[in-house]
């Protein structure tokens, strides 16, 4: 579904991503894990079309053009950015309505918004309040709901658990699992490696802009290098526990 080959992204003279290869197959949850500054966010931003890059990214067999986020969205590729990217000075309802911006089927889009309200009752309760005034968890739900309203086939999530309470984090991870059951493909960037590897099919471990390890998520969770670098200490059988 998504093929990334030799991806390089520069911030001025700094090479933040140094030649990454990445594959996402339809229906998978792919995790991108790694420490701060590993290049995870930069990679998904490049895929979403928010930054210029070198290398090729093909989606459904067609190459994407760098820096064309709005076209990528129309192709079915939506990103929930780090920090959620909600429109804070607009209401919950306006945010969701913006989520259907690129769609032509207005009646169906309006029904989809109602369905989102059913799926996330808290958003319905607060539909008229400014998005800024929602709690972190609610904002994350809103951001994901808004991205879903564009009816993507591939959802890119950049640190959805950032700044959330453990309980809310669990809810977000459950939501991601349920999205896959609905047939969505997810590319998930996370620092919370344990929980991420538990729900992912495959994972890529990034370090200073390179892929240092990749494979089945379960294998990565049990790998000693991975566990030393990111999971805190020796491999343990109950790796999945948060």
């Amino acid at each position: 579904m998504l093929k990334v080959r030799g991806l390089e992204v520069f911030y001025g003279p700094i090479r933040a991503v140094r030649g990454i290869d990445l594959d996402v197959e339809s229906g998978e949850i792919i995790a991108l894990v790694g420490g701060n500054g590993a290049g995870k966010t930069t990679t998904v931003r490049a895929i979403a079309g928010l930054t210029p890059y070198k290398g090729t990214i093909t989606y459904d067999g067609k190459p994407l053009t760098p820096n064309t986020a709005e076209l990528n969205l129309r192709a079915g590729l939506a990103l929930v950015p780090e920090g959620r990217g909600i429109l804070g000075r607009m209401t919950v309802e306006e945010n969701l309505s913006m989520g259907t911006y690129c769609r032509k089927d207005h009646a169906e889009a309006a029904r989809d918004i109602e369905r989102m309200f059913e799926r996330f009752p808290i958003l319905k309760e607060r539909r008229h309040s400014l998005a800024n005034l929602l709690s972190g968890g609610e904002q994350q739900m809103l951001a994901i709901a808004r991205a879903l309203l564009s009816r993507p086939r591939l959802l890119l999530l950049d640190e959805p658990s950032l700044g959330l309470a453990p309980k809310t984090t669990t809810a977000v991870f459950e939501l991601i699992s349920s999205l896959r059951r609905d047939g969505l493909t997810v590319l998930l960037v996370e620092q919370k490696a344990r929980q991420t590897l538990k729900i992912a099919d495959r994972a890529y471990l990034l370090e200073t802009g390179r892929v240092v390890m990749s494979g089945r998520a379960a294998d990565l969770a049990n790998d000693s290098l991975m566990s030393q670098a990111f999971l805190g200490g020796a491999t343990s059988p109950e790796i999945g526990s948060p």
Binding site: A69, M90, E94, S97, M98
Partner: protein, 278 residues
């Protein structure tokens, strides 16, 4: 109406249009300090067309607006790369560029100014003012406005819901420039004499001030702002030499108590509700 008040209301109309031009651009989160430049372009193009080409004024104003819009779009593209204070300074530079170009443009009188325009009535000025105001109110209720607010709020987020933020921002610059040009054309035909000094930095500041004072979140705020900016210094005349200082104090007081300006959406709703009940 006395000629004194007719003159003041004409000035309010012209300032209101200038303030509108800032408001439209500001709605996408871009602060322009160079709209007097677009006003100057409008004034000179419209005057050239009516005086030298014998065009009717309305046609000349439309042509001037289109010319300024084209220049506004050209200015809008480099402005995309700038934000906040950097954009403000760059647009200020643009305004000064236009002024000094006009100063050296002898074909249209250079520093000596240009005259020969026929005076327009107060009603004609407010016909334009009212027409553009209605246009803005309609815009504020449209989906396009939601897009402009989204761009203002968070450009990346707007981009991610599929908005073409470039088109929105550049379009706002073009529209704002066109409105400023109408303001300039009317100014030229109201005062029947123009010189480059009319379209300097201070004029741009007046536009921004009218928006900030009147209310930067609703179009109607510019009416209030423009009215106060013209009338207050007149009403304060009894203070003689101190009137501008008193005006400054009032301005600071208003902004201290109402950061969003005098008029905002809740106040506007309250006012229109009362009117509906009465």
């Amino acid at each position: 109406m006395s000629t004194y008040y007719a003159g003041l209301f004409a000035d309010i109309g012209i300032l209101f249009l200038g303030a509108m031009s800032v408001y439209i651009i500001l709605a996408t989160g871009q602060l322009s300090l160079g709209n007097a430049g677009f006003m100057g372009i409008g004034a000179y193009v419209a005057s050239f067309l009516t005086v030298e080409m014998q065009w009717p004024l309305t046609a000349a104003l439309i042509a001037a607006a289109l010319a300024a819009a084209a220049i506004g779009i050209v200015v809008g593209f480099p402005a995309l790369r700038l934000k906040g204070i950097y954009l403000a300074i760059a647009t200020l530079g643009f305004g000064e560029m236009v002024r000094s170009f006009l100063l050296n443009f002898d074909r249209m009188g250079g520093s000596g100014g240009f005259h020969g325009m026929k005076h327009v009535s107060l009603e004609y000025i407010w016909l334009w003012g009212g027409g553009i105001f209605v246009l803005i109110v309609l815009l504020e209720r449209s989906r396009l406005w939601l897009e402009m607010r989204a761009v203002h709020d968070d450009e990346t987020a707007a981009n991610l819901v599929g908005l073409n933020t470039t088109a929105t921002k550049v379009g706002a610059f073009g529209f704002g420039a066109a409105v400023a040009a109408v303001s300039g054309g009317l100014f030229a035909h109201h005062h029947v004499y123009i010189e480059p000094g009319n379209f300097g930095f201070e004029r741009s500041i007046d536009f921004v001030l009218a928006v900030i004072l009147g209310g930067s979140t609703v179009g109607a705020g510019a009416v209030v702002g423009a009215g106060l900016l013209v009338l207050l210094p007149e009403w304060l005349r009894f203070l003689a030499d101190w009137r501008l200082a008193a005006f400054g104090v009032l301005l600071v007081l208003v902004l201290l108590t109402r950061r969003q300006g005098i008029l905002d959406r809740p106040l506007l709703d309250k006012l229109s509700l009362r009117r509906a009940r009465a």
